[in-house]
């Protein structure tokens, strides 16, 4: 649910990075944080376990600039990917304006990708959202790893509706900003339409 403050002339939108455990969601946010000017970002908050697995969420506020005198702010969140944190994932999805699904390109993680995507659909549906109606992009991460699926294979399994897709290596930053820009653009376009 975007928040428009006519008084402060601000518009705030929430983007959630979703995907299976260890697919690289937190790494995406870390890269964005490192490469963003200090005046355009707030503090990055990571609620993580001692082994650096996301426990509740990562949070990164970004100021993208102005549109027609409105400051646009994007609040980026990641969910914990490990299966048993489902209750937390549901909470993070509340009020979402746009979704990035980060897939792990490694063949060994294909089932985990599919399960996570199914879980995303279920959790959105529980809140009356449909993934097909939300601004949504998909990122094929870890393209630098050996034993990865081809983009065609990944598309067939994970992107039957042909939403914008990006190859990435979040650790080095390849594709990270392309993904973010694509989803941010979709969110703003949706805002312009004022919802369906």
């Amino acid at each position: 649910m975007s928040f428009i403050n006519l008084m402060a002339r601000e518009i705030n939108c929430k983007i959630v990075y979703y995907g299976p455990g260890l697919c690289g969601k937190t790494t995406n946010l870390q890269y964005i944080y490192e490469r963003t000017n200090p005046e355009a970002k707030g503090k990055m908050i990571s609620l993580a376990t001692e082994t650096d697995r996301t426990l509740f969420f990562d949070f990164l506020p970004l100021a993208l600039g102005e549109i027609r005198g409105f400051k646009t702010r994007f609040y980026l969140y990641t969910v914990p990917g490990q299966v048993f944190y489902d209750a937390s994932r549901k909470l993070i999805l509340k009020g979402v304006d746009g979704v990035v699904f980060v897939a792990d390109s490694q063949i060994a993680r294909m089932e985990a990708n599919q399960e996570s995507l199914e879980n995303l659909r279920t959790n959105l549906a529980e809140q009356g959202y449909s993934l097909d109606k939300l601004p949504y992009v998909i990122q094929y991460n870890k393209r630098d790893m050996p034993d990865i699926g081809s983009v065609e294979e990944l598309r067939e399994l994970l992107n039957p509706t042909n939403v914008p897709e990006f190859e990435a290596c979040a650790r080095t930053g390849v594709g990270v900003f392309d993904t973010l820009k694509a989803v941010a653009k979709l969110v703003l376009t949706e805002l312009k339409r004022g919802g369906p």
């Binding site: 928040f3 402060a8 027609r68 646009t72 549901k90 993070i92």
Partner: protein, 160 residues
């Protein structure tokens, strides 16, 4: 609409600010915030210059979401208030009308009893303001202020 927007108008914004400013004084608080359930800061008052209000807002909302989730599992309605006691700062959090979160930060100059008392009245006022605001937002003809932006405007945001 799949994704209803929350719009804050000048009139309600000023009313909220007045309630918050007043609460800082009447409760002897250090600072007071209003945060929406999604973690966005709506209003703040008191000594907030040295605080990372954006982070605080997001963590408060996460906290309320987590306790709300616990309440559901225990078939409780909602844990409406929380109190965290620190060495110097104390935090009192209250869910107002199941919509917005009121956060009061106070120190030894005040007390939990006083804060509780003052928050009660403020939360009633806030509830009333947000009820009106939601009615206003739901009214037909409430055009999105973004209806007029162009694809070019959006593209320009990303040309850096």
């Amino acid at each position: 609409m799949v994704n209803p927007q929350m719009v804050m108008y000048e009139e309600e914004f000023n009313q909220i600010q007045t309630v918050v400013d007043h609460l800082v004084k009447s409760a002897n608080a250090r600072s007071v915030f209003i945060v929406d359930k999604n973690g966005q800061l709506i209003a703040a008052s008191g000594d907030v210059e040295h605080l990372d209000t954006t982070s605080l807002a997001s963590l408060t909302a996460g906290n309320i979401a987590a306790t709300g989730g616990m309440a559901k599992l225990l078939k409780e309605n909602e844990f409406a208030t929380q109190f965290h006691e620190g060495e110097r700062a104390n935090v009192y959090i209250m869910l107002v009308g199941n919509r917005v979160i009121l956060v009061v930060i106070f120190d030894a100059k005040s007390s939990l009893g006083l804060v509780r008392l003052r928050v009660k009245k403020a939360s009633e006022e806030l509830n009333h303001i947000f009820e009106n605001l939601l009615k206003k937002v739901a009214e037909p003809g409430g055009e999105s202020p973004f209806a007029e932006i162009t694809d070019e405007d959006i593209d320009n945001l990303f040309n850096d």
